[in-house]
Amino acid sequence: MEKSNPNVYMMQGNTACAEGAIAAGCRFFAGYPITPSTEIAEVLAYRLPQVGGNFIQMEDEIAAMGAVIGASLGGVKAMTATSGPGFSLKQENIGFAAMAEIPVVVVDVQRGGPSTGLPTHVSQSDMMQARWGTHGDHGIIALCPSTVRETYDLTIRAFNLSEQFRTPVLLMTDEIIAHLNEKIELPEPSTIKIINRQKPTVPPEKYVPYAMTDTDIPPMANFGEGYRYHVTGLAHDETGFPTNDPAKIEEQLLRINRKIERYRDEIVEVEEFATEKMEVLVIAYGATARSAKKAVQLARENGRRAGLLKLKTIWPFPEKEIAQLAQKVSRIVVPELNLGQIAHEVEWATCRALPVVRVNRINGEPITPHEILQAIVG
């Protein structure tokens, strides 16, 4: 049957992620099967060879993470996708990408943990691992979609941010969004904004791979394009070679933290719903934001003035946006599928000036609108 609009699809979140990656210019995917992320690998195994890209199933999640870093250094936009246990395994190499400033996208389709946990059930319990999963201090960007279309858009955004800031970007989706089939209309490819890494404009002998530039983001040369330089996970100076000079070490480490923090206004994306004249603010993200939106609607219908702040960026944390809205309300409700990982951040963002009510669940079941409504009503 002929579709009236060729850009409209019935699509699952994982498929949207794969298609978003291709639209963003991803031409290399390395993965390892793990529920509930596997469809991303399956779709890309089919699609990438059709568009001149490469798909490879590696021997484990660690190898997949290493391979995407290698591919990105070779100049190809690269992504891997995984879930809880695999996300844990990838952490060391995520730290490498942060340290060596190599753009890559890592998708974590969250499932119940700890350990093998609940492979086929939803969770949002990797939010803190996304921020602090590696050893050492570095900035990180993590995005969180709550619809299939958002999964598509935020996958593209993840690539753009990783290329712009020379950093790994994490797409923190979850089992519900990943396996949810929704009708979506994809944008015309020509309307999609694509950002590519800034390459050096100086001749190779003048190239300083980790130069302290005004932007804090030095241009990146791809391997094999005439700029021979050294890439290491060791603490290094601006030339990329290992150093033990405390001043040089600090200069570089502060820069890889600052390069995210100083652009936080550009990176942070939130969405407000019914936040005018409100008494209670619900802050939610991912699958739980869907229940939260319904709960706010129900509350408004029942004369309770509730609003929703949906977080599409989790790291850097939208503390400024939260603090501003918090001034308008007497209470905040944070529903999430963990024991309060983001609620804790909200308390910090609001200096504990008002009660932050937690609605938590860690048994693999989603939080219902009614449960959030109860918390709103109090």
């Binding site: 490469n54 021997e59 190898a63 290493g66 870093i69 290698g70 094999g224 890439v231 070679f241």
Partner: protein, 269 residues
Amino acid sequence: MDYLYYLRQSKMPHIWCDGCGHGIVLKSLLRVIDKLGWDKNDVAVVSGIGCSSRTPGYVDFNTLHTTHGRALAFATGLKIAKPQLHVIVVTGDGDAVAIGGNHFIHAARRNIDISVIIYNNYIYGMTGGQVSPTTPTMKKATTTPFGNPDAPFDISRLAAAAGAAYVARTTVYHYARMDLYIEQALTKKGFSVVEVLSPCPTSYGKLNKLGNGVDMLMYQKENTVSLEKAAQLTPEELENKIVVGVFVDKEQADYQEHYQKVVQKSHNV
């Protein structure tokens, strides 16, 4: 041959101890690259963690010093992204077949067009002399003070069993042989491995009373037997002998050749 052309001279002298064989391996690698006439821009040297893995820092190529054991994973992505690069992995026994053992056998199985030079010194040198997966049984290391109860891996036979297109073993003393094997490996389509036995007088030699670098090289000189000769010797006669030679040298389609077929099929759907 001008080694200096290939060295990052400001990083020299290198960190390897006096009598360590690693520098001899590196020189052989550079001689071969020089002989092949490869452009420095077209060569990528990738390593993991350990003494041998410090190699990339000293050579003027595209160089990548990755995480412990993962050099082959990074190299796989790099080779696929930039097939025109000659991707050479330099690694040690611990890096390649302990923490990186899984990547090693799978890269061999996949037959991806990467060459691996393994500097096998039977020990973890960088961390001060701990037992490695190639430390012979009952030999000492700082973590086996009363002798190693484990059996060692035979890296070359492991690579051969896993499907590598080219596998050879030699010692640093037999440098001409090393040049030949490394050249054959670098020009081989598919996954190629050269295992080079390299003395570690500082840790392995000292703990096992094997003398200094000179003594350990002398041992290599006097106790090496070829694969052909080894086939005629009894296990007792082969005890403490180093068996060298070409274990595998075969022509077979590599990963990229197979992937091209995948690409063609993907267009036919």
